[in-house]
């Protein structure tokens, strides 16, 4: 059996274990004092002098996700067996997934360009409640009363104020979709409420005794939105506004999920939910390196199917794809990936900024291949068209 390290440096098992826990924390596994206590109790219950056993025991005691489970052995070896690099003290660079030091932000000036607006309208929530156009009862929320800017192509919308507006629209849209509770209840086998009318009707068969209770419940909760945004070169002019739209979507609906793709795919939900716009901008710019290059829609969607979709997409999900459909992958790949995605999701909706152009027809090979696999192919080139999406979603 191999000896473990640091035996001389610590006073007892508790201290050695605490050092290991700190090592795990530094490497991004969330463990706290409660886990340390539990791990000590667990090690006491087994023969902890056996390295193999201690490893297996700690593995089940401190990990909580498949990713941590698969990473654990490496971290264990690195700490106890000298086989890897060990960080024994907190150094300058924080673990992955955390905010980089503020001093980076100066060296990332492009971050502002690639990311949603600074100064997000935090007062949107309060301001909206007194807005009569909200029309909450009907679930109808349309930005029809928008000023003239709403009709312009997204390309011309580069001013901060307009970007903020795109974000507000997305927020209102997401909220409208989420809060759209139908007033009518639906009959159900199990449910919190008793349907009096039906119960009385059924009691006739029992000589007037209400023996069989009919129940009812709210309609199913609204669809969850998963948005995939194309940020390749051809989409650059639209990307900023769409990113703002995505940020609004994720910010307003905690169940929504957002991804970016160009030649590869990244999940940006966490990055977009950061409260501080600068943090969000920095995170996004780190995530979207290579943005504005080529497009591999088919490959990106296939990757999505093979990885995230298993968790993020089910029969209660609407998938939004925001892309112009110019793809460098063979169209068959895109068609197949979409077909597979559509079987998994409730609805697949493609928003194309080019569709708003006069005389546009989906003749790009990728787009043509995608058409048969879509539930809806919609225009999303103006703010009004984005806002009008709500009507489409109401029917899903």
């Amino acid at each position: 059996m191999q000896p473990t390290r640091f035996a001389a440096r610590a006073r007892g098992p508790a201290e050695r274990l605490a050092g290991f826990m700190a090592h795990l924390r530094l490497n991004g596994i969330a463990v706290g004092p409660a886990e340390t206590t539990r791990a000590l109790a667990g090690l006491a219950a087994i023969d902890a002098t056996d390295l193999g056993r201690a490893r297996l025991a700690l593995k089940t005691l401190v990990t909580t996700t498949p990713e941590d489970w698969n990473r654990f052995d490496e971290l264990f070896d690195a700490y106890w067996l000298n086989t890897g690099r060990v960080r024994t003290r907190v150094t300058g660079s924080p673990p992955a997934g955390q905010k980089p030091p503020a001093l980076w932000s100066r060296h990332l000036p492009q971050a502002e360009g690639a990311a949603p607006v600074t100064g997000a309208p935090t007062d949107a929530a309060t301001g909206e409640d007194d807005d009569p156009a909200d029309g909450r009862g009907e679930g109808r929320l349309v930005a029809t009363g928008q000023p003239a800017t709403a009709r312009r192509d997204l390309r011309s919308l580069m001013a901060e104020a307009d970007l903020a507006e795109a974000e507000t629209i997305a927020e209102r849209l997401a909220r409208a979709i989420r809060e759209r509770h139908a007033r009518r209840r639906r009959q159900a086998r199990l449910g919190p409420e008793i349907d009096l009318r039906r119960t009385l009707r059924r009691s006739l068969a029992r000589g007037g005794e209400p023996l069989d209770l009919a129940r009812r419940r709210r309609r199913e909760p609204p669809l969850r939105i998963v948005a995939l945004l194309d940020v390749s070169g051809s989409m650059t002019v639209h990307a900023r506004v769409f990113l703002a739209f995505l940020k609004g979507l994720v910010g307003a609906d905690s169940r929504a999920d957002a991804y970016l793709f160009h030649t590869s795919l990244v999940r940006v939900t966490e990055a977009l939910t950061a409260r501080d716009p600068l943090t969000a901008a920095t995170r996004l710019s780190l995530l979207t390196r290579g943005m504005g290059g080529g497009t591999r829609i088919g490959q990106s969607l296939a990757t999505f199917n093979a990885t995230y979709a298993k968790r993020a997409v089910n029969g209660r999900t609407a998938v939004l794809i925001l892309s112009d459909g110019y793809d460098t992958d063979p169209p068959e790949l895109l068609a197949e990936a979409l077909a597979r995605l559509r079987r998994r999701a409730r609805r697949v909706v493609w928003l194309n900024p080019l569709k708003g152009w006069r005389g546009y027809a989906p003749v790009a090979r990728g787009m043509a291949a995608a058409m048969p696999h879509l539930d809806a192919f919609l225009e999303a080139s103006t703010l009004a068209s984005l806002a009008a999406l709500e009507a489409q979603f109401r029917e899903l």
């Binding site: 109790a41 219950a45 087994i46 297996l56 593995k59 089940t60 909580t64 489970w69 005794e209 023996l211």
Partner: protein, 291 residues
């Protein structure tokens, strides 16, 4: 008893557990913590709860989760029809005390659902909460409360304390992200597809009549199939189905009967796209490599 003993005893019931899984199970028994098992469908997550109940010689109480599962279906419900009949009967016979409120809301009229049933067993049962990821988040929060204290409050009756603490096993297919709170409450084990040696051991335990040469071929074939690009990768359950099908068809050598092998693949491939993807050429290649 240590985890190797547990592994051995599980093997006696026909369940071949890897060492990490045996350790996780052992610690969850020793520490009295719920065990959360994650992994693809068909890797034997549900089976382990059954095997555990067998070696503990105790009851297995199963709660299958689904979207819309609520407290009435999971914990308890009042037997409304019986209560109503009792009221009517009491009115007819003018014995009002029979229908008094205390009697109507007593345990006699309480329908026990799995969670309540589990904490009222005199011998600690194995409580299997299957596919917890299918239940709503609201139910997950509810479950957390019960897993923390093992007591259930019925407003009309008061708080019901656990007679014994059940061994809790939760399984998840990761169709939804589980909450951190639930994850941290449980011990965790990820159950992966078995490696060839382990799959052979499983076949030996579950289908002892199988020829060793054929078993090796089958394992090689299935392991190869798992490396192909498939929508639904076959699990151990599928392998066992296939073994049953092959022995039913009287096949002794995969290479000698490729056409029958293809026909029997319905046991392993569960979508039409996968069946189309595994062409006779692919089968020939896999069989060739498995030999």
């Amino acid at each position: 008893m240590d985890h190797l003993d547990l592994q051995r005893r599980l093997a006696e019931t026909g369940y071949v557990a890897g060492e990490p899984l045996a350790m996780a199970l052992h610690l969850s028994l020793v520490l009295g913590r719920p065990l959360l098992l994650e992994g693809e469908a068909g890797v034997g997550k549900t089976e382990i709860a059954k095997a555990l109940a067998t070696i503990q010689k105790t009851r297995l109480i199963r709660l299958q989760c689904y979207e819309g599962l609520d407290a009435a279906a999971a914990i308890y419900e009042w037997n409304y029809q019986r209560q109503l009949l009792a009221i009517r009967a009491a009115a007819e016979t003018a014995r009002v005390e029979e229908a008094s409120e205390e009697r109507l809301f007593s345990e006699r009229y309480l329908l026990r659902r799995p969670l309540l049933e589990a904490i009222l067993q005199p011998v600690p049962p194995v409580l299997l909460i299957d596919e917890i990821d299918r239940a709503d988040e609201a139910f997950e929060a509810f479950l957390l409360e019960i897993l923390a204290d093992f007591q259930i409050t019925v407003p009309e009756l008061g708080t019901i304390e656990a007679v014994s603490r059940p061994h809790v096993v939760l399984t998840s297919n990761a169709t939804r992200e589980l909450s951190d709170a639930l994850r941290r409450r449980c011990l965790y084990a990820f159950v992966d597809y078995p490696d060839p040696a382990m799959e052979l051991a499983i076949l030996a335990a579950r289908a002892p009549e199988l020829e060793p040469a054929l078993a090796a071929q089958i394992v090689g074939f299935v392991q190869g199939l798992r490396r192909e690009e498939l929508e639904k990768t076959p699990g151990i359950a599928e392998t066992l189905d296939w073994v049953a099908a092959l022995s039913g068809l009287g096949i002794n050598d995969l290479a000698a009967s490729l056409a029958t092998v293809q026909a029997s693949l319905v046991c392993l491939l569960k979508t039409s796209a996968d069946q189309a993807a595994v062409t006779p050429e692919v089968i020939a290649r896999l069989v060739d490599r498995a030999a």
